[in-house]
């Protein structure tokens, strides 16, 4: 049956050669190579669940009075968007499951992209010829974060309203063009009619289309260039070592898809996320203490909180305090990430092609620097919830914030020193082992004879420290 279809297709399209090559395609076996796949599959799950949600969601700012199945909010004024998300959560069987799966999948999608980015960074996989895919991958991260923000801002609840106000204020703070940009994106001051339809079009059409396009290019480039290999026997710049696409890699990868799907279904079923009915509908006068964005924007939130209240006056023009941590800082972080492969290439005077990865300890500066930046962002992420921590630890926000303003620089500095030292130590030990191994292979050593002792199947190496 499959053979008959294949033959019929091949007569018309002549794809036997490509399919044969594809089935023989070699993929390296290493767990860290699955992180990118998890991101890919999370995106597929986002599309699947998102299509289902789109069948029920009403992206409208029109004001309605609620009389639905969630009686606690009966008679309240709310947007039609919020009403439809309540209906989706309480009136549609399995609607809440799909909605929570969609939200969890988004968080996992972005987490997997970040972990994938870290894997690429710490193994120097971005080196020539893979700079292009580094740039595309980063763009995918930006798009994913943006779409995550639009996604949870659509629902018209009080929390997303707070997030939108901050988003509007950040856009408004851009020098010169800010007011125009803010009014074009949000259709006026928040909350304005038209904002939700704008975001909805971005969330379900524009950004997913861009992500699909770039993801396709990302995969096509990987397909063309082949994966990198971790260092090991037989792994050189001229070879690729691993398992074939058909059948073993296909089974593994498809299995991973179902596993990711299963985990997301489990989370959607058991762990509550974004309970909009608890927040209540958006109301300009109401406040929501302890409001935080989703984790992937938490580091920007932290920067906004820690940055001192300093305005920049240029003549009679103003650059508001929010611009620096809210927009300039994340822009600089991403600019640095975009430029990193070219910076590293220039710094190491190495523009050769590399297909064998470096281990983190083989590049002490990069590893230490990467860890320091990671810790910097982590402290900011913690700072994004400082009011929460202050309440839990019964301390004052002002004191905690002063402490965090110090820690945000001290912890990365310490991290850099410690990681750099660890890498150097590991490298020295490796060099020692190498010398010892060479000595062992040239000078015949007395080896235990078979039968002298129990053979464990591996050699125990005593390292002189």
């Amino acid at each position: 049956m499959i053979e008959a279809v294949g033959r019929a297709l091949d007569r018309r399209l002549g794809m036997a050669r490509f399919v044969r090559e594809a089935m023989n395609h070699v993929f390296p076996d290493h767990w860290s190579f699955m992180i990118g796949e998890i991101a890919l599959y999370a995106f597929a799950i986002l599309v699947i669940t998102g299509i289902y949600l789109a069948l029920f969601f009403n992206a409208s700012d029109a004001e309605v009075v609620y009389h639905g199945s969630y009686h606690a909010l009966d008679g309240l004024r709310m947007s039609a968007a919020y009403e439809s998300s309540l209906h989706l959560s309480f009136g549609v069987p399995a609607g809440l499951l799909i909605r929570q799966m969609h939200h969890w999948a988004a968080d996992i999608f972005i987490a997997a992209i970040v972990a994938h980015l870290a894997r690429i960074f710490f193994t120097a996989a971005y080196r020539r010829p893979r700079e292009l895919n580094w740039l595309i991958g980063l763009t995918l991260l930006v798009l994913a974060v943006g779409n995550g923000f639009f996604g949870y801002s659509l629902l018209g609840d009080l929390l997303s309203g707070a997030g939108l106000r901050v988003g509007y204020a950040i856009l408004l703070s851009i020098p010169v063009a800010g007011p125009w940009l803010a009014f074009l994106v949000f259709g006026g001051t928040v909350p304005a009619n038209g904002m939700t339809p704008h975001m909805y079009a971005m969330h379900v059409v524009v950004i997913p289309a861009l992500i699909s396009l770039l993801l396709g290019i990302h995969l096509a480039i990987i397909w063309r260039q082949r994966h990198t290999n971790y260092p090991g026997p037989g792994r050189t710049n001229r070879t690729i070592v691993g398992s074939r696409l058909w059948p073993s890699y296909a089974a593994k990868s498809l299995g991973l898809f179902f596993l990711v799907f299963g985990v997301i279904a489990m989370m959607g079923g058991l762990f509550q996320i974004d309970p909009v009915w608890i927040y209540g509908p958006y109301n300009p006068v109401a406040i929501i203490p302890g409001a935080q964005p989703d984790w992937y924007l938490g580091w920007v939130e932290g920067a906004i909180r820690l940055f001192p209240g300093v305005n920049l006056h240029l003549g009679h023009w103003l650059v508001p305090e929010l611009f620096f941590p809210g927009l300039l800082f994340p822009a600089l972080v991403f600019l640095a990430l975009y430029l990193w492969p070219f910076f590293a290439e220039t710094l190491s005077l190495d523009d050769r092609q590399h297909h064998v990865l470096l281990l983190p300890w083989q590049q002490p500066f990069n590893t230490a620097f990467g860890c320091a930046v990671f810790m910097f962002l982590l402290v900011l992420l913690v700072a994004g919830a400082d009011d929460f921590i202050a309440v839990m630890t019964d301390s004052s926000v002002v004191t905690l914030r002063t402490l965090l303003r110090i820690l945000v620089f001290v912890i990365p500095a310490l991290t850099f020193v410690v990681v750099y030292w660890l890498c150097l130590r590991r490298r020295a030990r490796h060099a020692q082992d190498k010398v010892a191994d060479e000595a062992q292979s040239t000078v015949p050593q007395e080896r235990p004879q078979a039968g002298e002792g129990p053979s464990l199947g591996f050699t125990v190496r005593v390292r002189p420290d």
């Binding site: 703070s173 800010g178 991973l256 299963g262 279904a265 006068v285 926000v397």
Partner: protein, 382 residues
């Protein structure tokens, strides 16, 4: 297969007539029985294997410890890439001995079968829960087991039931041959030579594209209004009464010292941008700038409730310290000194509204806010 319940007699009759390809329940049941029998056999032999494995620890350790990785390879590794891409050269990573192979097969069968079976049962459970309006937890867990079971089964196949091999292939040369590039350059140039009026095409073409692009971008203008009209608004007009959200006017008797209220100008009650916080403090404590000395009759102060930092509602008031607090980023504003920021990320004071009480004690705005409200922007000081 038909939905009607099949009588075993009918099925046997069908078999007797020799219609071998007709679907039959008995044969399916027989096959299922055989599968279960095989499965049971696999489980039994796994038990035996467990006992046997205890005696084969040494062999297992051998199999589990792969050779230590060699040192970093140079540009040219020690192993020359094989010339062919066929699978014949793939290295078999599976165990060499027949019993070990059999053991893999049995374990794999048992695990894959169990995982698929769990997935099928959970999948049926999911459907049942869906139709009977099960809880979110029931739906989620059954769906998770159905999907996860399928995933596990596939992974078990890859792990045990597909021959494990390691392929070593030469990498393709990424850059093209110089001749190929030269050929493309030649084609491109010759095509250019065959085209007349190339400069016209370049300039007029570029201009056309530019104009079209500008036209398309212009369409975006329809998305929003002109910001100037609303951003600079001082919101209140002279003489407007201070209204609660229920449109009740406030008077000098409305608040006690330390009390607060959310008020709006009577022309736009309930709007985001016009929300104003009214506070009554002890007038002796006031430290307002001298120009604002008459803005606070009887200690009534009014400030914009939209934070100058990021636009949240400045919704909390600490009467003891006379501080307004924004719950979003914890900026605090000193009410007594014209709401200047005292801590947190805000840099600009909350705009203040001049107040006066008319002859019958109703509170009214003495003009607009001292500055445009809300978060800062490029031209706010104009």
């Amino acid at each position: 297969m038909s939905d009607k319940p099949v009588d075993p007699g009918d099925a046997r009759a069908a078999e007797e007539t020799g219609a071998k390809k007709e679907p039959s329940l008995t044969r399916d049941l027989a096959r299922l029985g055989a599968s279960l029998w095989h499965f049971a056999g696999a489980m039994v032999s796994i038990g035996a294997d467990l006992l046997e494995t205890a005696r084969n620890v040494e062999q297992k350790v051998d199999a589990l410890t792969s050779p230590l990785p060699a040192d970093e390879p140079g540009i040219d590794g020690p192993i020359a890439p094989p010339a062919e891409t066929d699978r014949d050269s793939d290295r078999d990573l599976g165990p060499a001995s027949a019993p070990a192979r059999l053991r893999r097969l049995r374990w794999g069968t048992a695990f894959a079968f169990s995982a698929f079976a769990a997935a099928i049962v959970a999948g049926i459970g999911f459907i049942c829960f869906y139709w009977t309006r099960g809880t979110n937890e029931q739906l989620g867990v059954t769906l998770a087991i159905a999907l996860g079971g399928t995933g596990c089964a596939l992974v078990f196949y890859a792990r045990w039931l597909i021959r494990p091999t390691e392929a070593i292939e030469p990498r393709p040369e990424l850059s093209s041959a110089e001749e190929e590039r030269a050929a493309i350059a030649h084609t491109y140039r010759s095509a250019a030579e065959d085209t007349h009026r190339r400069t016209l095409l370049q300039w007029m073409g570029a201009m056309t594209v530019g104009v079209l692009a500008a036209g398309v971008v212009s369409l975006l203008r329809s998305l929003g209004s002109n910001p100037d009209q609303t951003l600079y608004s001082r919101v209140w007009k002279h003489g407007e009464r201070l209204m609660t959200i229920d449109s009740n006017p406030l008077t000098i008797h409305s608040l006690d010292t330390g009390g607060t209220a959310i008020v709006f100008p009577e022309s736009s009650v309930g709007s985001e941008k016009t929300q104003t916080v009214l506070i009554r403090v002890n007038p002796d404590l006031l430290q307002l700038p001298s120009a604002r000395s008459d803005w606070a009759p009887l200690g009534y102060l009014a400030y914009s409730r939209v934070c100058t930092h990021a636009g949240c509602a400045v919704g909390m008031y600490e009467a003891e310290q006379n501080l307004l607090l924004c719950p979003c980023h914890q900026s605090t504003f000193d009410v007594l000194r014209g709401a200047v920021p005292t801590s947190g990320p805000a840099a600009r004071p909350l705009p203040q509204l001049p107040l006066y009480a008319d002859s019958d004690g109703t509170l009214r705005a003495g003009g607009g806010f001292s500055e445009p409200t809300g978060p800062g922007f490029w031209g706010i000081d104009d």
